[in-house]
């Protein structure tokens, strides 16, 4: 079953067109990675698919809905962790989870989500007092508290120390086990290799390569995904 179907997506801001022509599809239950140089349009693709931005061209179906016309219905069924988003400094972990759960028609049990993601001990901790790793963990939990079928994770592990990254990877695998489809934007090829079932490499607003990490490594005629990434994005660095 296809969860996301993107055909010829185009989005411009003024004279800039970060997304020229992107087509890809994401299947139910997979972890789908999106990689590419800065300014390649990764975040814009995610924002269009999650209903945060309207597209200028192309077709887009997410969970069978058009994010443009069925935005409200779609937001009930997806979760998102966004780059640089934040919570009020003095909100407590438990309050944030309960409050976000109350925004959805059919939320998950926020206490169960808190327990599952190891946040119960931090329940009374204020957001500002959490370390980067705990904040990210809370953001994943907030993305899941609406009991979504599809989750968008944008540069989840950027800025985390190696052990917090490893822990986060484990949490993302757990999502797949629960049957949640995950779309993740990442800069790290080791992360993509460890987690993604399939991935797209985007450059200058287009899909440069699409496939499993192994297929992309072969396509880049390289020994590792890391080297393949450089081979595939050569000349596409904005």
């Amino acid at each position: 079953m296809t969860v996301i179907e993107i055909e010829g997506l185009r989005k411009s801001y003024g004279s800039k067109t970060p997304v020229e022509d992107v087509s890809l599809s994401v299947e139910k239950g997979e972890i789908f990675g999106i990689a590419g140089p800065n300014g390649a349009g990764k975040t814009t693709v995610v924002e269009c698919a999650s209903g945060l931005r309207d597209r200028d061209g192309g077709t887009l179906r997410v969970l069978g809905l058009d994010p443009r016309t069925d935005r409200r219905k779609l937001l009930q069924r997806i979760g998102a962790q966004l780059q640089e988003a934040a919570l009020p400094d003095s909100i407590k972990v438990g309050e944030a989870l309960a409050m976000y759960a109350s925004l959805y028609d059919k939320p998950a049990d926020w206490r169960a989500v808190m327990e599952e993601w190891g946040l119960s001990d931090k329940r009374r901790a204020r957001f500002a007092s959490l370390s980067g790793g705990w904040k990210q963990r809370l953001f994943i939990a907030l993305a899941l508290v609406g009991d979504p079928e599809l989750v968008f994770l944008d540069e989840l592990t950027t800025g985390l120390d190696p052990s917090a990254r490893r822990t986060t990877w484990g949490l993302i695998r757990k999502l797949r086990e629960r049957g949640v489809t995950v779309v993740m934007v990442t800069h790290f090829m080791d992360e993509a290799e460890a987690l993604c079932d399939r991935m797209a490499i985007i450059g200058q607003g287009r899909v440069l390569a699409l496939g499993t990490p192994r297929e992309l490594t072969e396509q880049g005629r390289s020994d590792s995904l890391d080297e393949a990434y450089f081979a595939l994005t050569e000349g596409a660095v904005a």
């Binding site: 988003a85 919570l87 109350s102 925004l103 959805y104 907030l142």
Partner: protein, 240 residues
């Protein structure tokens, strides 16, 4: 509905956790009441000072919560991308506005209760002669000033700017409209200028109701109009 009560409750807790907001909305007006009542002479016209001062300071509290604390919260949330995160949930701009308004109005309710409690217990405040009029005036005051606060919060880019804009509107308004100085002691021209501020109808209506006079429909109508116009523009101007 579950969303709005939940968000409002959390927002109220967050406001109360900020020592500055709690001080300015709760302790500061109580201190002002004490300072003003140290010179307990009847107002020109014979009204006991306390029966004028408490309704005045109630509008002061509503104005402070609605015009300075509310815009700072809302604009600060935009600056820090708290709103951006909420945008990826089913939360609507209406929910954001209503919960912010409700939380800051509840802060004003607490401040009002404190002033009335001190007035009754310490200074022999009379209970409102026209309770219905007082409640209606209070609510319309909170709605009209709240709508202006939401408008500031929707327009200014960040929390600090919102505080500056809010305070520079609030203090002149509070002085000129008679929320700090009794209208009876103000000069005619000053009162005429003050009557043009959106806080004046709230002061008049609340004071009229408190002494048992009917509340002028025109005054109430002005507050409804302010609420609709400022609220409407705020909804249009809102950015996540």
């Amino acid at each position: 509905m579950k969303g709005i009560t939940n968000v409002t409750a959390v927002e109220l807790k967050l406001i109360m956790r900020d020592p500055m907001s709690a001080f300015f909305a709760l302790a500061f007006p109580a201190i002002m009441l004490w300072v003003k009542m140290r010179n307990d002479r009847p107002l020109p016209g014979g009204l006991p000072a306390i029966d004028g001062t408490v309704p005045m300071l109630i509008v002061f509290v509503i104005g402070l919560a609605a015009l300075t604390i509310l815009p700072a919260t809302l604009a600060g949330y935009r600056e820090r991308r708290v709103l951006k995160r909420l945008r990826a949930t089913p939360a609507t701009p209406t929910l954001i506005f209503s919960s912010q308004w409700a939380a800051h109005t509840l802060l004003a309710v607490i401040g009002t209760a404190l002033l009335v409690g001190i007035g009754l217990a310490v200074y022999g405040l009379r209970t409102p002669g026209n309770l219905g009029g007082v409640l209606l005036a209070w609510l319309l005051g909170a709605l009209s000033l709240g709508a202006i606060g939401l408008l500031i919060g929707a327009l200014v880019p960040g929390g600090r700017t919102a505080t500056v804009v809010g305070l520079s509107l609030f203090f002149p308004m509070a002085f000129l409209s008679g929320a700090i100085i009794p209208r009876e002691t103000m000069g005619g021209s000053m009162r005429a200028i003050g009557d043009l501020t959106p806080m004046a109808p709230a002061v008049q209506a609340l004071r009229d109701g408190w002494v048992g006079n009917p509340v002028s429909p025109l005054t109430l109508g002005i507050m409804v109009a302010i609420c609709l116009v400022a609220g409407g523009v705020a909804v249009k101007a809102f950015r996540w």
